[in-house]
């Protein structure tokens, strides 16, 4: 099995000579390889066995998630968010990532994964401070065990590995689920994180949302691999390929990977095939690099529509449930809208807190300088008074 077509390449290896002494195949690679096709449940016979409660739960979250995405996008147009990297079209990945975890587990999201954080229970306003611009991380990561939204690509992956490893050393049954994009898999940190995880057999699940693009760069310019899931075998962990718009399939695969990790089976790499229906962020112009027709084919594979079809087929989408779902989503949106339309109260003096546990003398004197400037400003120049947030103009994560 080699493309080099060496005469005798695998025929003459036994019997005649001893292999190099330290040589032994370490693990059987076969079970590590992903299936040839992305795993799917919706629209297949296997969907029948799915628990109605789960399907309805997923549906509620997807609808809420979509509404969250459209509301956040609207807030950028109203100048209330500096920037928003939408996960419209990727809600099944986001929701499944949150639901696959137990309370003690940790989520490591990227800038695009605020929805996963919200689905895990984080207050949307707190999830959005980074993108509103009032503070980098707007929540206490320990409260919901959600690491800070990470912008430098793939750099959160080793954090997830370290945290999961530390928990395991301590004897805690904690799993970390780390999210990264297709583009992020090209970074060295992706490689190093997966390698550490496999060597340590750390309880981590790596979820790659392959949404086809890294800003404008299509997958074909990102990798020549058969699939991103195939990268798993090079680390000695199983790779799984899933239809990322099939919420129950995503949920099943992630839940299974989380269970395996929790039971000491080590890490898994999951590639979810999905699509970024919106532009990279509101600041991006997607028409420069892809056609409307391509987007349309993916709209036809919408995660909500796919699940709706299953629910309808199985008579699970009654009027009442549908209305309650819609209402819940609208409540989330209304609440978010309202609270985001209030200017956050900021204290510029915060800049000097938390650089270190105790302020250094140097920072104390810089803080005093700013304090004096602010006081002078408050007296002399009302137009630049402190406390009011200058609306952020432009920002791209």
């Amino acid at each position: 099995m080699t493309v080099l077509e060496q005469p005798g390449s695998s025929r003459h290896t036994s019997g005649l000579a001893s292999p190099p002494p330290a040589w032994r195949p370490r693990v059987d690679p076969a079970p590590l390889l992903p299936d040839a096709e992305p795993y799917r449940l919706l629209g297949t016979a296997a969907a029948r066995r799915l628990d109605p409660g789960l399907l309805k739960r997923l549906y509620t979250e997807l609808v809420r998630g979509r509404r969250y995405n459209t509301q956040a996008t609207a807030l950028t147009r109203q100048g209330r968010l500096a920037v928003y990297p939408s996960s419209t079209g990727q809600e099944a990945c986001q929701v499944a990532a949150a639901l696959a975890l137990q309370e003690q587990d940790w989520l490591f999201p990227s800038y695009r994964d605020t929805l996963a954080a919200v689905a895990r229970g984080l207050d949307p306003v707190q999830a959005l401070t980074l993108l509103r611009g009032d503070w980098h991380t707007g929540y206490d990561p320990y409260e919901h065990r959600i690491a800070p939204l990470c912008t430098p690509l793939a750099t959160q992956l080793p954090h997830a590995v370290g945290l999961a490893h530390a928990a395991r050393l301590k004897g805690d049954e904690v799993v970390a689920l780390a999210m990264v994009g297709d583009g992020g898999t090209s970074e060295g940190d992706f490689h190093e994180a997966l390698n550490f995880a496999a060597v340590w057999q750390a309880p981590v699940v790596f979820l790659v949302q392959n949404n086809g693009f890294a800003i404008s760069v299509p997958l074909a310019k990102q990798t020549a691999a058969p699939t991103l899931a195939h990268k798993a075998v090079g680390y000695g962990m199983p790779g799984r390929l899933v239809d990322g718009n099939d919420a129950p399939a995503m949920h099943e695969v992630l839940t299974e990977a989380v269970r395996r990790a929790r039971e000491g089976g080590g890490p898994t790499l999951v590639e979810a095939i999905t699509y970024r229906v919106d532009a990279h962020t509101n600041a991006d112009d997607a028409t420069r690099y892809r056609s409307e027709a391509e987007v349309e084919t993916w709209r036809a594979h919408d995660p909500i529509a796919l699940l709706e079809r299953e629910l309808t087929d199985r008579d699970l989408l009654g009027d009442e449930f549908a209305a309650a779902t819609r209402d819940g989503a609208e409540r989330l949106a209304a609440d978010l809208r309202e609270r985001m339309h209030t200017d956050p109260q900021l204290d510029p003096m915060d800049l000097f807190d938390h650089v270190f546990t105790r302020q250094t003398g140097q920072l104390r004197s810089q803080a005093a300088q700013l304090r004096a400037e602010l006081d002078a400003e408050a007296e002399g120049h009302p137009e630049t008074a402190t406390g009011t947030a200058a609306p952020a103009q432009e920002a791209r994560p």
Partner: protein, 344 residues
């Protein structure tokens, strides 16, 4: 397609357009110039500086790379070894950090370690600095790292004209240049004779942007307009400030800087980069070493605070502004005449 067309009227252009034009002209003039980076192709870069290049020169000359900065710079090193002249785009300041080892251990040293046999005619374009409302990791002023690395030239334009001229000079240089583009000046405009722009040569010359006699403001990149504004405002206080645009941090133009400071006797260095360990310390120290007898006051610094870059809604408190510059100028010991008669 060369740049020798007859000069015509000056027209307004943004700094981004001037940079773009510089890339295009350099590629047209020299087939070994290759542009590479994340999103530099169809998208034209997130700041549109590479807009149109892929159309004009094809994907081989202007290529979207995989998303891996060490890989981008590392492969560019190999391309330079084979005689190409790569122009690498790092998408944002903080996203150049993954390429740090390639930069410090290879790009900066290749010529030296091979006794001149292997040249590194590489330009590394890095959009830097704040003031654009960027979220975390999108507003770093990382110049201190580069100027502490022997073997790198570090250049940053502050005007539309220099954006063109310095970028052409950087690409033409046989040694690596870290080319820092001030993000918040990308959309700054100036009348500019785009038909016959010229490279700035050699790299390493500061430029006096405003003549003055009371004190010298030394600055570069994003802080130049702020300093010019401060100099205007200072007239009301009776100060006639000279403003020097350093343009090149490495090589450093001691001659222009010291000539100015010797004339005015007072100096303030202004930059966005954090003060502690930032460029201002080096600049102040070397001025003091060279012009001690001429100084009426210590060289002072106005810099970003020594904190991680703030979130967008607070960044205006961090950035050196006109008031902070004037407050600092006021501290240049205008009353104390104890130094009188002290000079050479």
């Amino acid at each position: 397609m060369t740049t020798t067309a007859a000069p015509t009227a000056r027209k307004p252009a943004t700094m981004a357009q001037a940079l773009s034009r510089a890339l295009r002209d350099a590629m047209a003039d020299d087939p070994t110039v290759h542009v590479m980076g994340e999103d530099v192709g169809a998208l034209g870069g997130v700041f549109r500086v590479t807009d149109g290049l892929v159309k004009e020169f094809g994907e081989d000359r202007c290529s979207d790379t995989p998303l891996a900065e060490a890989g981008i710079l590392g492969t560019a090193v190999g391309m330079a070894m084979y005689g190409l002249r790569p122009v690498v785009e790092m998408q944002f300041d903080a996203f150049a950090y993954p390429a740090f080892e390639q930069l410090v251990s290879h790009v900066a040293r290749m010529r030296n370690r091979t006794r001149g046999a292997v040249a590194m005619p590489l330009t590394i374009r890095i959009p830097y600095g704040g003031g654009i409302g960027g979220v975390e990791h999108h507003s770093d002023s990382s110049e201190a790292y580069y100027l502490a690395t022997p073997g790198l030239q570090v250049v940053t334009p502050a005007t539309v004209e220099d954006a063109y001229g310095l970028l052409r000079a950087a690409i033409a240089s046989d040694d690596p240049v870290v080319f820092l583009e001030p993000k918040r000046l990308y959309w700054s405009k100036a009348d500019w004779s785009a038909e016959a722009p010229t490279p700035v040569a050699p790299i390493g010359r500061a430029e006096v942007r405003r003549r003055g006699s009371s004190a010298t403001l030394l600055t570069y990149g994003p802080s130049l307009p702020v300093c010019l504004e401060a100099a205007e405002a200072a007239r009301a206080e009776g100060w006639d400030l000279e403003v020097v645009d350093l343009r090149s941090l490495v090589p450093f133009d001691d001659d222009t800087v010291c000539a100015s400071v010797r004339r005015t006797g007072r100096a303030v260095v202004v930059h966005e980069s954090g003060g502690f360990g930032g460029p201002g310390g080096e600049i102040a120290a070397r001025i003091t070493e060279r012009c001690f007898h001429h100084l009426e006051a210590p060289v002072l610094r106005v810099a970003g605070f020594d904190i991680p870059y703030p979130p967008p809604m607070l960044e205006r408190h961090h950035l050196p502004g006109v008031d902070r510059i004037l407050d600092t100028v006021a501290r240049l010991q205008w009353e104390s005449r104890w130094t009188e008669g002290r000079g050479e």
